[in-house]
């Protein structure tokens, strides 16, 4: 089984590495804020049609645009859910979504989290799915990428106040990158058997003679951007475990690749923009190292299974099959689990709540690391660059110089912004979890008592605050309490990070770029990569070790102590 897994992982990494390169070349000019030669006229026309004047923005202006744009998006999505009963394209006649759920879902899709407290096929009309959720899938992804572009510009521009134009960035990313990729992927998915229709649900009689309803809908078009934009919000409740969303082993592989494609491409675009591709490779390799190690850990934990069940002769020592699609098997499930939580996608092809204690801890921890291992589109890169700044700061001091990254001195203001970023998500996760396990409405949602129940809550807040969106499904989160708490966690986890990131970008862009000498710390070699990996892991471990000890670690030790 491990051999099968390693082969799959090897193929996956090979395909990813091969595709990340052209993806980087595709994204780099956009990151620099321009389009290549012959597209310039088309671009000018497009911007004119959208009423956008491509003028540079300072960081405050850029941040304001991000906030206004997303706030409007959230309000619109909320209104659409509440009014869907009155609107067309609703063959099943779905009524208004409940207030708490609509609030939570609106924030969830705008923040690229796609936490789903509802079941798609029994809650959302086709119009809401297409005009509301799918559109936000595009726009939230474009927002993340735009912010990453702004940070890249911060590192590479010299003594400039200009971070580029948010509106132009969102438009270009959507039209030149997300749309074409989504169209191609959607067509391939349709070919493989993913649904794409606007029909009403079909009822038929099964072989056993029971009546069964099959949910229909425009699935493929939403499925493509769900992966490419690391959104993860499933059309159906079962998400990518549903055969109409993810029918074959090939679609499974393509979906995993689609999740990592843009985050990986962005690292290379970063290297190109920095004028030193090795800088991009270093980030890419650091991400890959953590990803591969975590995937192996999940696979190892899952194939070990549960010794208590093994002792009873139930699983025959074949590992933990609970909650896994037999169609995909243990290897493809383990890899998918790691991919979807390393990136802030949150699509699932297996039930995370059914993972072994350690197998469930790894995805949880990947989210707690801040979704920087490839991470969300854009957000993964800017999150990782924050860690790079942190690593460079401490290590830079150790080489006896004022720390610098890509020739930019890291000074007090930058550290303030880094501090805000590394403080925000732990605060949301830990305080949210603490409130939930203390208060009655929080405790009411737990499906399992004890350590596993604790893990469910911790997982939910880790997922929300880091904008992942996957869940330990055992938690009944569609309650006013969780809808509100997780909604707030998602909003702050997204924008309380984006604003300091943009502030740092603005501050960096205004600085001089220092010449690199033999005395400056190299940020492309193996040493830097290990330093970056070390910083991410150390901060993640120190922040979450006590909480994890009371959840999955205690559970694991209990099971294996018998």
């Amino acid at each position: 089984m491990m051999l099968q897994f390693f082969c799959l992982q090897g193929v996956f990494m090979l395909l990813l590495t091969l595709s990340a390169h052209p993806m980087g070349a595709w994204l780099a000019p956009l990151a620099a804020g321009r389009v290549s030669g012959r597209w310039q006229r088309v671009d000018a026309m497009l911007l004119r049609m959208a009423g956008i004047r491509d003028e540079g923005m300072g960081w405050r202006q850029y941040a304001l645009a991000v906030l206004v744009f997303n706030l409007l998006g959230a309000l619109l999505l909320y209104a659409l859910q509440r009014l869907q009963g009155l609107l067309p394209l609703n063959p099943q006649g779905m009524g208004a979504v409940e207030v708490g759920s609509a609030f939570n879902t609106a924030i969830s899709f705008v923040t690229n989290t796609n936490w789903q407290g509802y079941a798609g096929e029994s809650t959302m009309s086709y119009l809401t799915q297409m005009v509301g959720l799918a559109v936000q899938n595009f726009l939230s992804a474009a927002t993340g990428i735009a912010v990453a572009f702004a940070l890249m510009r911060g590192f590479t521009r010299r003594e400039s106040a200009d971070l580029g134009n948010f509106w132009a960035d969102v438009l270009r990313v959507s039209v030149y990158v997300l749309l074409p990729l989504s169209i191609v992927l959607a067509l391939v998915l349709v070919q493989q058997g993913v649904l794409q229709n606007l029909s009403g649900y079909t009822t038929y009689t099964t072989l056993a003679g029971h009546a069964q309803t099959l949910a229909m809908g425009p699935v493929a078009s939403q499925e493509a951007i769900k992966m490419l934009g690391t959104n993860g919000g499933g059309f159906f409740n079962a998400n990518s475990a549903h055969p109409f969303e993810n029918p074959t082993e090939l679609t499974n592989l393509l979906q995993m690749l689609a999740i990592f494609l843009i985050p990986a491409g962005l690292t290379h675009a970063f290297g190109r923009l920095a004028g030193d591709r090795r800088q991009g490779w270093a980030i890419y390799i650091a991400m890959s190292v953590i990803f591969i190690a975590c995937a192996v850990a999940v696979m190892a934990a899952e194939s070990q299974g549960n010794p208590l069940l093994t002792a009873l002769g139930i699983d025959g020592g074949s590992g933990n099959w609970e909650g896994k699609e037999v169609r995909f098997g243990m290897a493809a499930s383990s890899l998918f689990i790691t991919v979807t939580t390393a990136a802030s996608c949150g699509a699932v092809n297996a039930m995370h709540d059914s993972l072994t204690a350690l197998g469930g801890m790894v995805p949880m921890w990947l989210m707690q690391l801040g979704e920087v291992v490839f991470g969300g589109v854009g957000s993964g890169l800017y999150g990782m660059l924050i860690f790079a700044v942190l690593a460079v700061f401490v290590a830079g001091l150790m080489v006896g110089r004022t720390p610098e990254y890509l020739g930019k001195k890291i000074e007090a203001f930058d550290m303030k912004m880094v501090a805000l970023v590394i403080l925000t998500t732990p605060a949301l996760v830990l305080l949210g979890t603490a409130a939930s396990v203390l208060l009655a409405p929080g405790l009411a949602g737990l499906a399992n008592p004890g350590m596993h129940g604790f893990s469910e809550v911790l997982y939910a807040f880790s997922s929300a605050a880091n904008n992942n969106g996957s869940a330990f499904a055992g938690l009944s989160a569609n309650t006013p309490f969780y809808n509100a708490m997780l909604g707030i966690a998602m909003w702050l986890g997204r924008f309380a990070i984006i604003v300091p990131v943009l502030a740092m970008a603005g501050n960096l862009a205004a600085k001089k770029t220092l010449a690199t000498t033999n005395g400056s710390m190299p940020t492309h070699g193996g040493l830097f990569i290990s330093l970056l990996v070390g910083s991410v892991l150390l901060v993640g471990a120190l922040t979450y070790l006590p909480a994890l000890a009371l959840g999955p670690v205690a559970e694991h030790l209990m099971i294996w102590a018998h």
Partner: protein, 716 residues
Amino acid sequence: MGALSEKIMTEKKISLPLFDPALLKPALLDSVRKLALREQLKNPVMFVVYLGSVLCSVLWVMALQGQGDAPAWLTGSIAVWLWFTVLFANFAEALAEGRSKAQAASLKGLKKATIAKKLAAPHRYGAGFTLVDASDLRKGDVVLVQHGELIPCDGEVIEGIASVDESAITGESAPVIRESGGDFSSVTGGTRVLSDWIVVCATVNPGETFIDRMIAMVEGAKRRKTPNEVALTILLLALTLVFLLVTVTLLPFSVYSVNSAGSGTVISLPVLLALLVCLIPTTIGGLLSAIGVAGMSRLMAANVIATSGRAVEAAGDVDVLLLDKTGTITFGNRQASAFIAAAGHTPVQLAEAAWLASLADDTPEGKSIVVLAQRLTRSPAVLHEGEQSGHNTLHALQQGLTPAGVSFVPFTAQSRMSGINLGSRQIRKGAADAIRRHIQQQGGSFSTVLQQQVDDIASRGSTPLVVAEGAEVLGVVELKDVVKPGIKERFAQLRQMGIKTVMVTGDNRLTAAAIAAEAGVDDFLAEATPENKLALIRDYQKRGQLVAMTGDGTNDAPALAQADVAVAMNSGTQAAREAANMVDLDSSPTKLIQVVEIGKQMLMTRGALTTFSLANDVAKYFAIIPAAFASTYPQLALLNVMGLTSPASALLSAVIFNALIIVVLIPLALKGVRYRALGAEALLRRNLLVYGLGGLLLPFAGIKLIDMLLAVLGLV
């Protein structure tokens, strides 16, 4: 303290042993004094520990009354060790400050009550003066200082010339010449006029003098956090808040766990406090200010005074060093390399005269002439055979004696010549224009051929020294620049550190290129003028490089002001010293390199201790987490990888380790991480290995050791 200051005064370098017993007692007292709330607020990390100690003490009192949630002895022990943690950090800072104060005390010796002779109008030599106290002198007052008197204030010589003993601040015993006009016109208060007189115009008000500023800097009274220190403090504060969140939320987590497991007890407040203090970066937090003070102190020990800590830090960042050729790359004192005889004289005659004129010349130039002359003529004594008396005289001179009829003429600031009177023979050597004046007075003439030779030598980058006997010129001695041995290796090291060296010289391109190649500098600026020096600095800065330079003249001031790190020679003018951000008391041109190293060392020490402090936390988790939750989830005992005796001993060991490690690291904080001239990558690898990996592993051993000790002593 008295004995100590005396000892410092007698040493040239103002340096101290690490734990001087005379300093320990006041430092211990200070560490208690620093428990004042106002002092603690300055350091956010240690302030959290401080609050923790107060809270824990309150809990202890409550526990003694039977209201505690943990045993009273455990709460008490934790409280005591938390207080020790605060005290140890205070002690580190107090000790660093104490060492600085001791250095400052030696400077204060210069501020003896001095009586000044304040001149009345027209402020010229000969005007009447009143005796006033030096501390009453204001900027613009004019004073007369005569031989044997202390100069009462920092100022500018406006009239007269004198030799001044500045050894009190420079440690250099040879007196220096100070005269009005030119680059040697500034004087420092507290130095002593040895000969002649000068009229000095005070340039600063009392309390702002150079020495006052030095004392304030060194004592740390004016110490502000440097930019890097501020950035690091922000990071430490953020980490402290993260750990505060971690520990605060652990209480509800524990309540939930106990409720759902139905066993064990909720984690107690003293245990949470212990965990918090162990996790927050107390090691670096406690030593941070000591590192800063010690950095300034080390600079002081190298006889450099910085006007701000910012400048020291910037020194670590320098990419380009502009180095004056003379004194830095070559010996400022040039060495005789050739005798070029004037028409009608032989080189041997010239050599003999030069030898005689240099016998009493103790300068390196003079000695080098003697050496070269002896090599050229084997024994000058045999030259004048037949002149028995002359022979004897020469023989005596060779023995280092001064026979009758012989008198030496020393170099003076006015004549700018030196030489010997040997019976009727009057031999002089000196700069071309001085000798020209001399022989013209004697009725001789200075031929154009000779002038040509002098110019030739100068254009080669060498210095011509003309030798004359009576009214006749014998020839010219060429004094050549000699590149200092070892300087090439030094530059190679700097190159490896990523620092570029640029030689600055007034020489023409050809000469400069030859010396630059010999010395192995990366680049050179020939025919340097203040303007092109300034342009060069701006050029480097535009390319994103930080430039350091040394200077002394008034015309260096613009370049010094432009440079990122500017070291002025103490012997330099007031203008140069004002423009610079450091002053080198030794006026040594190579000091710049040392300053860069001290700057780097200070940053490295901070980085290393931060890394160490963070890496420590891993082991502390393994000690405290199983201990804290053993009653709720007994299976977590498996995480007790150190095999600590009991939950209580695990807790105490971690807290004790956390406090003691501060004391253990005080020497490192004060002395600084050892600096090596390596490239950034090699340096980082080394420091990561020592302080990162070391910081990860050491506490496992340390905590285990303390646990075993506690168990053996039967304390837990």
